[in-house]
Symmetry: C2
Subunit: 426 residues, 2 copies
């Protein structure tokens, strides 16, 4: 590594460290503000975004020009683009978060010990959260709103292709927040596009309390690999629908079909249908042509191939893949136990559903499948903060602790114990 | 590295990987057992320990002989030693855990969405937990009981000086558990004393769901540094007592004195007393000689030195140190805000207490100090699972998420969402 590169990296590192320390300090003051102050600041921020549609559009155009110049795909450029409608939606989103109930108002438990200590377990903000995301610049406003509403300071690190859009949004919101009494540095955007900036953020043990990567598997893996601070993973959603021998086959077909073709690119879309051998023939013969007509490529095991003349034989890899596309793997099993074992072995612990009318079989599935969300007679597509009624979503966790499944405001909090006594000692 | 060492490491790694996979598989079955089965197995295990006092004593003597041969200190050998009384206490401890309420019985929340999905958030075991500990062999039984009661499979890795004691305890419990219907491999001891064994355990991402290191700071740091799986840290307890200007000075003295001299080597002992300048003279002139008489070395800031003629001037390092000894640092501040800032800056977020009769000042401290447990008019020594009424303790977490402060059975659980519908899709 050249001396020049080393110096640049050193200065990026120092800059990000300073930003994190300042934000951590701000987080302590922010945690003490009441809900009305935090919410009013969000409303002021939303108003500011609306007032500056032209400015935001101009800065966004710089990113679009840059993206076109380096030949990014039309799909990526569309993700990057902020139209007046999208800016309005972004402002409205911030206002919606402001209007949600205060996630810090909850007392989790309270009790008195035999030594007459009064103990309360209360919700508090996590502290300083780092969020790393990719090209969509509206994430900047979205994440800033969720973190501020939950009393957390936040360091944002967006994609380098959206740097002008992200910068103008963060500047506008930051000014509005400060004017509304939010401590300076409570929300900071890392303006450096160096890789070293992300690396520094991921290693601020004791300063950055949690990092949330929002983006594809490559980003998730890179973050998990390099982070020294706690990370909320959003790994794969290899979701299953299991069609039991006692299923309502019409219901099974509607749920499977829509969970595949509705939005195949999302993590709660179904990637595999597991069918009990007793109903494999009628179910697959009915849904097969319909899936084919919708452009879905089927990859079937040997048994299922009998009823799916247009399917390709599934490889071992197909059973472990999140296709995120119009592809569906099909597996036939001989029992509920085989279905549960299969899903626990090749699934990703995200969301899995059983379709059955049999109470006992359903209970076995709901208890035995080791996923964040298990469904009976409903689509896996409901794994979503809004569908769950959280009013907002910062992501869907595939971690096993702290937060599982859809994460709303509550999942951006932790707790502390407050103990009051009258001079007790031991 | 020689070919021979490489091969040994490779075989240790493969052995630990196999053990983890088998335990993970067992964890899925274990999670489905009811509380009575898990508790009865623990009672059977306790009976077995009692029946085999002689055998345990013999195996323990082998460890003691080994420890003496390599010249371990008398204190370490005492930690290693299992007398018949200690074996009885170990068995009784397992029975106490068996008698605790089922931590898996709780439904955290339940609600119905506008789309008429019935959502329940229920407690489940975390899955497979790794526990790494040092010389005391009774930890083997203690940890096995806590994990089994909470439905978790566990891989144990004890200190190499206790290998014979740990092995006999794990074998006896394991046989008793199996006979009582607990899935094989639910509790496994790593019998290799190679360093590679620990390293392998720490990197089984997706198999080992959480690791809990129980031991000193060196172990904690090594685990935090090398782990790829989530870790519950038990870092330092740099605990403070803040004596406010409105304190009952007699109460302040009793709490400070006992929190220092009672058991100076534990993490919830006080390491620093912070005193408001208005009461520094009477408080320090009264407690100073008493602490000195009890053998406590005082390290005071400039202001406090005026009233503590026998103290040494505190260095900057003293303010950041967990002494775990009869040493107390003393700091004088001019306001509650200074006290809060000081504690948040140099503390370790473990346990801190304010002594005051002023409601407003107390509330400021309880809200502003960013620690797992904050006290008003009580000793920091109460940060303990038993004192909190949890009935058991697997440790005291200094993490900010999942579990903070004392960890009982509930903190060995996570949750999943069970969603029941009538064919809903989107």
């Amino acid at each position: 590594m050249s001396q020049r590169v080393k110096e640049m990296e050193g200065s990026t590192r120092a800059m990000v460290e300073d930003l994190c320390l300042a934000a951590k300090k701000a987080s302590r003051k922010l945690a003490l503000l009441d809900n009305e102050t935090r919410s009013a600041a969000l409303r002021a921020g939303a108003a500011c975004l609306r007032d500056e549609v032209v400015l935001i559009g101009e800065e966004n155009q710089r990113d679009i020009n840059g993206a076109e110049a380096i030949g990014l795909s039309a799909a990526l450029i569309d993700r990057l683009r902020l139209t007046p409608e999208r800016i309005e939606a972004m402002a409205a989103g911030v206002e919606q978060v402001a209007a949600l109930p205060d996630p810090l108002a909850e007392q989790i438990r309270a009790w008195t010990t035999p030594s007459d200590l009064r103990i309360r377990q209360v919700r508090i903000p996590i502290g300083l959260i780092g969020v790393i995301y990719e090209s969509r610049p509206n994430v900047t406003a979205d994440v800033a709103a969720l973190c501020l509403k939950s009393g957390n300071a936040v360091i944002l690190k967006g994609g380098k292709e959206a740097i002008h859009s992200n910068t103008v949004i963060a500047d506008l919101l930051g000014d509005a927040f400060s004017a509304a009494g939010i401590p300076d540095c409570s929300m900071e955007l890392i303006r450096s596009t160096e890789r070293e900036a992300t690396h520094t953020l991921l290693t601020q043990t004791g300063v950055v309390d949690m990092v949330i990567p929002r983006g594809g598997l490559t980003l998730q893996r890179a973050v998990a690999e390099n982070a020294k601070v706690p990370v909320i993973n959003h790994f794969e959603g290899i979701c299953h629908v299991y069609v039991d021998k006692d299923a309502d086959l019409e219901m099974a077909e509607e749920i499977t079909f829509t969970a595949k073709v509705g939005r195949p690119g999302v993590c709660n879309a179904v990637e595999k249908v597991v069918v009990h051998s007793d109903v494999a023939m009628p179910f697959l013969r009915s849904i097969g042509p319909r899936l084919k007509a919708a452009g879905v490529e089927l990859r079937a095991d040997k048994h299922a191939m009998r009823y799916l003349p247009d399917a390709r034989p599934a490889t071992e890899d197909d059973m472990h893949t999140e296709f995120l596309d119009l592809v569906l793997a099909v597996k036939v099993v001989d029992s509920i136990d085989d279905a549960i074992n299969f899903i626990n072995t090749v699934g990703s612990g995200h969301s899995d559903s059983i379709i059955t009318k049999n109470r006992e079989t359903a209970d076995k599935f709901l208890a035995g499948v080791d996923s964040a969300v298990v469904y009976e007679n409903a689509s896996t597509r409901f794994t979503d903060g809004f569908q769950f009624g959280f009013g907002a979503e910062i992501g869907i966790s595939t971690n096993r602790v702290h937060a599982r499944g859809p994460m709303g405001l509550r999942e951006l909090t932790t707790y502390k114990y407050i103990v009051q006594g009258d001079g007790q000692y031991i």
